[in-house]
Subunit: 245 residues, 2 copies
């Protein structure tokens, strides 16, 4: 009986979410989510937009999503948030359907915010007041706020990094220092953890910053196990990083 009710609920939810069944705008206004959100997990929101770089988005997404295949830990719900439910196009040209629209109501509480780099994080995205306001609002209640590569420019512009040490994409460090002269900036590291903020150099090193979060939350053994699933030999002690706390 339970199975039948569950199956029926699934069908109803599926119908409710499908943009093919009714006017898409009406569907959006009705329901701002497409994924079930299991309780007793960390909610991890990935801020994506047109121009998001694939790797800095999928590397931490995979590390965090894979936590749900480890026993006896408070795993993570991973989902994407954008300023639309229409497909966004990444820098490399993938078309991805966001899970949530942050300009609408109905967003789950976000425990960990991930800001991957995007093409316009050094220019037009910094002028997007709604984006910056969303980041500030999530920051106020988040456990961790993380950036990869130029995502740090968004956090800095939102005013979140003034009191902590941070880093960004190696080739953009000088621009970062120039644009935000009040910041304490560390170069030549894979990532920096200060307060609730973890800023990463990005690129393929985005895995390491995400694994560090896992080691903090779940311990070294779980981090090593998740790393192994992605053919990474994990040893935090061997990494060039800055962990002031």
């Amino acid at each position: 009986m339970k199975t039948i009710i569950l199956a029926m609920s699934f069908v109803l939810i599926s119908l409710g979410c499908s943009p093919k069944k009714e006017n898409p705008k009406a569907a959006q206004q009705k329901q701002n989510h497409v994924k079930p959100i299991p309780p007793n997990r960390y909610n991890v929101g990935f801020l994506i937009m047109n121009g998001t770089y694939n790797t800095e988005f999928t590397a931490p997404f995979d590390i965090f999503q894979h936590t749900r295949y480890r026993d006896n830990i408070k795993a993570m719900n991973t989902f994407t948030v954008a300023n639309t439910l229409e497909p966004i196009t990444t820098f490399e040209g993938l078309r991805i359907l966001p899970d949530y629209d942050y300009t609408q109501d109905g967003l789950p509480a976000i425990d960990i915010l991930v800001v991957p780099s995007a093409e316009h994080h050094l220019d037009t995205d910094l002028e997007d007041a709604q984006l910056l306001e969303f980041v500030r609002k999530v920051d106020a209640k988040a456990l961790f706020v993380t950036s990869h590569c130029d995502g740090a420019f968004i956090l800095a512009k939102a005013g979140l990094l003034d009191k902590v040490v941070s880093t960004t994409f190696p080739s953009d460090i000088e621009k970062y220092r120039k644009m935000f002269p009040q910041l304490k900036v560390k170069d030549s590291v894979l990532f920096v953890h200060d307060g609730k903020y973890i800023t990463s150099a990005g690129g393929a090193k985005s895995f390491e910053a995400a694994l560090y979060v896992c080691e903090r939350l779940y311990g070294a053994e779980v981090a090593r196990s998740i790393a192994k699933g992605l053919v990474i030999d994990w040893n935090l002690q061997a990494l060039p990083c800055l962990i002031p706390q």
Copy 2:
């Protein structure tokens, strides 16, 4: 006038591609592509499906897509192919709109085929005759055919790897040997290149196999430059890999 005609064409094309405006199946039959395909480039097709693992898909996608920002080389057009134009859902839960449907006509010629791992590459995907036939058809004319992680199971099942050395995801090597006892399998390497086939251990090491293809096609300097953009220190000579040729 030219601008007006271009704008009108764009509107018409947009209408034609949008599944909201008409029956989606009819739209698919009308136009099996969404990306312009510039000439004088290598066409690189990424075979995606429900259950594709993000990293093994986006790591080589990014390396190859970034070739177009390097001067004086025959860069790559990167696009996705699936058995549908409807969104596929990756193993980690991203919903991605494929660029081409391989069950329809109108696919561009593929010079390099990339087969990232997917959830059912050890079971149901191996029974998908249409998938295997597509892989064989592309293989017949391709310059390189590459797999990441369990993608090797698809190539092996299609009968492409019988005469070459290959590898797969470290934890699945024994299953691979057992399922395909005729194969010459190499373990404990990041990737193997033999003939036109490059098979990779996958995970985060998918970057390395893709960078190797770039080094073969464009030389070490271009490979190092693309690697740097993804915060990877590239040195082919230092990597555990097998290149019989």
